[in-house]
């Protein structure tokens, strides 16, 4: 079970059942270091649930999730984060009552214990890192703004920034461009290409143009199972995929 592996993430036979309904059913897939993997599939296919399982929000009924060879299924949520897994939620989830600066600062991976947070100092390192991330996510001019007042697209970027500042090895993004304008999508694709350096990304997305633009490999889910996997061209040509998803 625990022999070393080249995969960054190995999901094997993962199953979760909600009162008998298997939202994710015997799911297996593998993510390489430095890979952008896109998961697509119709509504209710189990895409979000799969991410929930990886980050510990939902507990698996059976199966295994290994991250750099370490089993995640019995770890606590914050321990999974410490191991190097970051996750963006489907709806922008940011702290509306705090400023953009503070949103990023709270996400800075130092002072994570109660005592550590009490004595945490906003030093040059923190400021520089926040400034650096803010520039990446196009929010340099909004650092002092209350996050509540950002546009939908900016909130999505902010949440991505809050993950980037933690420098996770695996970044999981649930529909990062949903509700974004055309120009925002282009900028987001640009952002994803920039952040891929030294990490892997799993993206759930419905926007096929966007998927084509960023994906190294695509996994298609349907009713909790993988029905196709491979390059974008490969899955697009797969009749099963056309039937349940792309044909619509």
């Amino acid at each position: 079970m625990s022999e070393p592996t080249d995969f960054l993430l190995a999901v094997e036979a993962l199953t979760v059942s909600f009162d008998g309904f298997k939202a994710v059913d015997d799911l297996s897939f593998y993510v390489d270091p430095g890979e952008i993997r896109v998961i697509i599939g119709p509504n209710g296919a189990g895409k979000t649930t799969a991410l929930d399982l990886i980050c510990g929000k939902t507990r698996a009924t059976s199966g295994s999730i290994r991250f750099r060879g370490k089993e995640l299924t019995d770890m606590k949520e914050h321990e999974i984060v410490h191991a190097g897994v970051g996750r963006k939620f489907q709806n922008p989830t940011i702290y509306e009552d705090l400023s953009v600066f503070e949103n990023l600062e709270v996400s800075f991976p130092r002072g994570r214990s109660v005592f550590g947070a009490l004595v945490f100092k906003r030093d040059a390192e923190v400021r520089e890192r926040v400034a650096e991330i803010a520039e990446m996510i196009f929010l340099t001019d909004h650092l002092e703004d209350r996050a509540e007042y950002l546009s939908h697209g900016q909130k999505q970027w902010l949440e991505i920034g809050m993950l980037l500042i933690q420098d996770p090895e695996l970044l999981m993004l649930d529909e990062p461009v949903a509700g974004m304008s055309g120009s925002e999508r282009i900028k987001t694709a640009e952002l994803l290409h920039k952040i891929i350096e030294g990490r892997s990304v799993i993206v759930i997305e419905h926007d096929m143009k966007f998927v084509e633009d960023i994906a190294h490999k695509v996994t298609v889910l349907h009713q909790g199972r993988v029905i196709s996997e491979g390059s974008m061209a490969h899955v697009q040509a797969d009749p099963k995929v056309v039937e349940v998803y792309l044909g619509h």
Partner: protein
Amino acid sequence: MTSMLNPLKKTELVGFLVVAAVILLILPAITDAFRLNMVGKYLTYAFVAVGLVLCWGSAGILSLGQGIFFGLGGYCMAMFLKLESSTPEATSIQSTPGIPDFMDWNQITELPWFWEPFHSLTFTMLAVILVPAILAFVIGFAMFTRRVGGVYFAIITQAIAAILTILIIGQQGYTGGVNGITDLRSLLGWDIRTDSAKTILYFVNAVLLLAVIALSLLVRHSKLGRILVALRDKEDRVRFSGYDVAAFKIFVFCFAAAISGIGGAMFTLQVGFMSPTFVGIVPSIEMVIFCAVGGRYSLIGAVYGTLLVNWGKTTFSESFPELWLFAMGALFIAVVMAFPNGLAGIWNSHVQPLVKRLSKRTGERQAAPAETPAAIAE
């Protein structure tokens, strides 16, 4: 709402100095010894309200059982004072001299083991803080690691307050029952019933309260304070940013409990007794109202809210005692519906802009906003 972001640290400092002046200078100057003692009693509730600002205002954890911690602190102090007044000489007419009178009335012939350590003032002072904090830890650990929150948490704290009251009343021989622990006279030989002692205790209480507020301001301006606001808003985001959310909630709940305990102990010292009426459901809810009226996001507001509501209570219940509870309920609803940020909110959204406009007109422009954003404050 904009006023909740980037408050000038300066305004907070000014607010602190003003409240310090009010309770250290103005109130003592305009009230007689009797009234000052009453104000001192009110200010002991402000400890609880300040704790609620952190717990409920910052972190969104509404406890309807803060009377538990106020009461425990108060009882710890009362036990020490009672033992001091129960010397064998003073109690020579009892069948067992040397134990508190109510124990003797209840046919108890030996001091219970858990009373023994309260012969020591050092132990007592530690217990005033630690007993409430430890109970809060137990409750917090049981609830927050199981992700119990919101209304359920509020109801459970309420139930615990009820249970503790019943326990205290039922165990008359150990606790003094419904009358509480009364007839407390001296602290290390110093008579606490005289006017001068009460005045001194008023100032001790005031300084302790200011220290607690200053400490709370530090906590709120730390990263921990911002994490509390963050988890009030998006608990999952905090959890999936690598924080053990339960630990932070337990911390703030224990902190609030510990300072409530100090308030309770100061109450006992100034009023000369402690009874179950300050532990149960009604006082616990009243304390939440003090905090809501002051503004649940404002540490300073908590003090004014407490003073105002208690002043209202005293005035009102002198004339219409039976109506007070209804008035209190109405006040709470009115505040929550119309002024969710309480007095502090009214101040920030109505008075402060006016002051700013006036000072702008006189030419001296306000300093630019603080160079760094700070967590939400008043």
